[in-house]
């Protein structure tokens, strides 16, 4: 008579619930299975939610139920010959790093936080600083188990069911609930990074750095000062890195080690005056000074990939009103002009940004709704303030005209018409979805906003 899953899954009702951006805030009905067999669509509309690290309304379902996967976090198998790791979809990237980095295996692709679930990474088809050489997350997923809208399960591989596989990769959870997945990990010799910081005084300099093959490293991303204006507009730092060789490991330290800094927590939301543009500008200048002068150095994996993970709830720094993150990509032909227009418009409007991240993407993957495509991607945090929505609507038009697109995992406000101009394989996605969820039992606030469900 071991404890068993209760016959009736219990539902918790929460008044205020949101994604990582703390905007929008909606009521939610939650279920949280502790075993895989409890992961299934419920009621008229439901959606699996992992760690809630998408920013907007991708993991919200105010008209239905959210099935939390956080308790489905077991690591089920690891093959040290291939690096194939099978785990339940609620396991986080942190779980994988903690278990496998000491053995010499790292994530093939990682976003800027390790606190997201594997299911979430697949649903958003996340990318990392190595997109130009490694592609996005789904390129390293060998197979997954999907609980379909009708409750049946299917093992999905890109070989046997490419339609369903590539609709699920980047499909924002709308093709079913991923219960387990197999990811091919990547062999590393050390848990250290050899990093180079190259400062750029203007946007043009930064573009040139990004295009210069001298700076071709396995990982590269530029930080950009979202507040600088005039001739300093778009100044920033290109950060490139490689996994360090054993002889580069600082003496006295283990080559393979995972001992992240103890995380500090931002215990409450900061008041809105903390976001005064001057404060932001000051913060940015300090950061610019600190980063631009460090040149080449070796550091552990954690600060290179996850600089913000050391402060839990850093999203609270944007106060109770929350923030939007605006991330888009524009193809090579139009990339520079588009990035310039967006940075300029936001700087002119005084919509301050602590964090601007600029990266050059590699080839497009197969995911029907996957975000990455060749070109430049820019991500900016924008605090929620009066008038911001109109400014971003204009930016959507600029991005769509440029042949680019906005990242759904960050989005809370894109209009359906603009969305439809951005994702050329949308019709294919809709066809797969129609076939696997004809009565639309899977849904999210994002899906309804964009006409996906």
């Amino acid at each position: 008579m071991s404890p068993i899953e209760p016959a009736r899954a219990k539902t918790a009702e929460v008044e205020r619930f949101s994604g990582w951006g703390n905007h929008p805030v909606v009521p939610a009905k939650l279920q949280r299975p502790e075993r895989r067999k409890g992961l299934r669509p419920v009621g008229a509309s439901s959606l699996a939610r992992g760690q809630g690290r998408s920013y907007g309304d991708a993991a919200l379902n105010s008209l239905g139920t959210l099935v939390l996967t956080e308790r489905l976090d077991r690591l089920l198998g690891f093959d040290p010959k291939t690096g194939d790791l099978t785990a339940e979809a609620g396991a986080t990237l942190e779980d994988l790093i903690e278990a496998l980095l000491p053995l010499g295996w790292f994530l093939p692709v990682t976003p800027g936080t390790r606190f997201c679930s594997l299911g979430g990474c697949l649903a958003a088809d996340v990318h990392g600083k190595n997109h130009h050489v490694a592609g996005s997350f789904s390129a390293h997923v060998r197979s997954f188990e999907l609980v379909r809208a009708d409750g049946g399960t299917a093992w999905v591989t890109p070989q046997e069911d490419p339609g369903l596989f590539w609709a699920t990769a980047g499909g924002m959870g709308l093709t079913g609930m991923v219960s387990t997945l197999t990811l091919r990990m990547k062999k590393v010799e050390t848990s250290w990074m050899s990093v180079t910081h190259s400062p750029a005084r203007s946007l043009d300099e930064l573009f040139d750095l990004l295009d210069d093959p001298v700076h071709d490293a396995e990982y590269s991303v530029a930080w950009i000062d979202g507040m600088a204006s005039g001739s300093s507009l778009g100044r920033g730092v290109l950060m490139s890195g490689e996994h360090a060789a054993p002889d580069q490991v600082p003496s006295g330290r283990a080559a393979l080690d995972w001992s992240p800094e103890r995380t500090k927590s931002l215990p409450f939301s900061l008041p809105s005056w903390a976001l005064h543009p001057l404060a932001v500008r000051l913060g940015n200048s300090v950061y610019h000074w600190a980063q631009g002068r460090r040149g080449r150095f070796v550091c552990p994996i954690e600060p290179f990939f996850y600089p913000l993970d050391s402060i839990q709830h850093w999203n609270r720094m944007y106060g109770k009103r929350g923030f939007l993150q605006y991330q888009f990509v524009a193809p090579p032909e139009t990339a520079r002009a588009t990035v310039r227009t967006v940075v300029q418009s936001l700087a002119d409007g005084g919509y301050g940004s602590f964090l601007g991240v600029l990266k050059k993407f590699g080839p497009q993957g197969e995911g029907l709704l996957s975000f990455p495509m060749p070109g430049l991607t820019l991500a900016l945090d924008v605090p929620m303030r009066h008038g911001i929505e109109a400014v971003l609507d204009r930016m959507d038009a600029v991005v769509a005209d440029a042949g680019g697109r906005v990242y759904l995992a960050k989005d809370a406000r894109l209009a359906r018409a603009a969305f439809e101009r951005m994702y050329p394989r949308l019709e294919e996605f809709r066809q797969v979805r129609e076939a696997c969820d004809p009565s639309s039992r899977l849904g999210s606030d994002l899906a309804r906003r964009l006409g996906l469900a």
């Binding site: 008579m1 071991s2 404890p3 068993i4 219990k10 539902t11 949280r32 502790e34 308790r71």
Partner: protein, 247 residues
């Protein structure tokens, strides 16, 4: 550091799974025992991948005759003599339902008292004859005082607590430690959806406190610790008043 093997009876729960992880991290070979061996195999893989330590699975159904003895024998054929046994069998059920459904009531009483106590008698006999080892059983703060809202579960846990008290006194002479754990509400499927509960603990945190208690061979621990004082106050309220409290 390698330590002796540990058998976890009723290892299917989230708390028990984390106790297994924690024990493996401390160097024990862990055996997960329960009815759903397929699910336990997944938990065992998880323990092995995360800790690099072997973790085995054993069928165990506390309601069957001789379940404790059989599980222990089968386990020891693989692992050699056990260092300790964790009893994590339990079932909250529904008080409301149990009041009208004798089968549900019997299930609550059996899962929380008679079945675990019976299995522990088997375990105790073996450890006693060897003159060493430990038994750690999960009771509950609910057993410290009967309340309107869960007295069936509470009374069964009270029975288990008292049983463990007596067992401890019996086994102290043969060097076997008996550790009674009384968790407050833990954030698992048992409590999910009940709204904001006071001192709600996370299963990982509870598991780590339990393993600490095992290592220190404590007699009785409340988890989290403040429950000791909360329950001490609770027990002092005169029955004449207590019976009218909506608890």
């Amino acid at each position: 550091m390698t330590r002796g093997p540990v058998l976890i009876l009723g290892a299917g729960s989230t708390i028990a799974r984390h106790i297994g992880l924690e024990l493996a991290q401390k160097g024990h070979v862990v055996v997960l025992a329960g009815r759903d061996t397929e699910d336990l195999a997944a938990s065992a893989s998880d323990v092995t991948i995360r800790t690099g330590r072997a973790c085995l699975v054993q069928f165990f159904d506390a309601t069957l005759e001789g379940a404790g003895r059989l599980a222990m024998e089968a386990t020891e054929r693989e692992t050699g003599p056990l260092e300790g046994v964790v009893m994590a069998v339990g079932y909250l059920g529904s008080q409301e339902e149990a009041e009208h459904d004798p089968d549900e009531a019997a299930k609550v009483m059996e899962s929380n008292y008679t079945a675990p106590a019976r299995a522990l008698l088997d375990v105790a006999t073996v450890l006693e004859s060897r003159g060493g080892g430990w038994i750690c059983a999960l009771s509950s703060v609910a057993g410290d005082r009967g309340r309107h809202s869960n007295y069936l579960y509470g009374s069964a846990k009270a029975g288990l607590t008292t049983f463990l008290q007596g067992l401890r006194a019996r086994l102290v002479h043969s060097g076997v430690a008996v550790i009674t754990v009384k968790p407050g509400p833990v954030d698992t499927s048992m409590t999910f959806g009940m709204g904001k509960l006071p001192l709600l603990a996370q299963p990982e945190e509870v598991a780590s406190r339990i393993v600490e208690a095992i290592q220190r061979r404590r007699d009785v621990v409340y988890v989290p610790a403040p429950w000791r004082w909360v329950m001490a106050v609770f027990r002092l309220v005169p029955e004449r008043l207590f019976k009218r409290l909506k608890l």
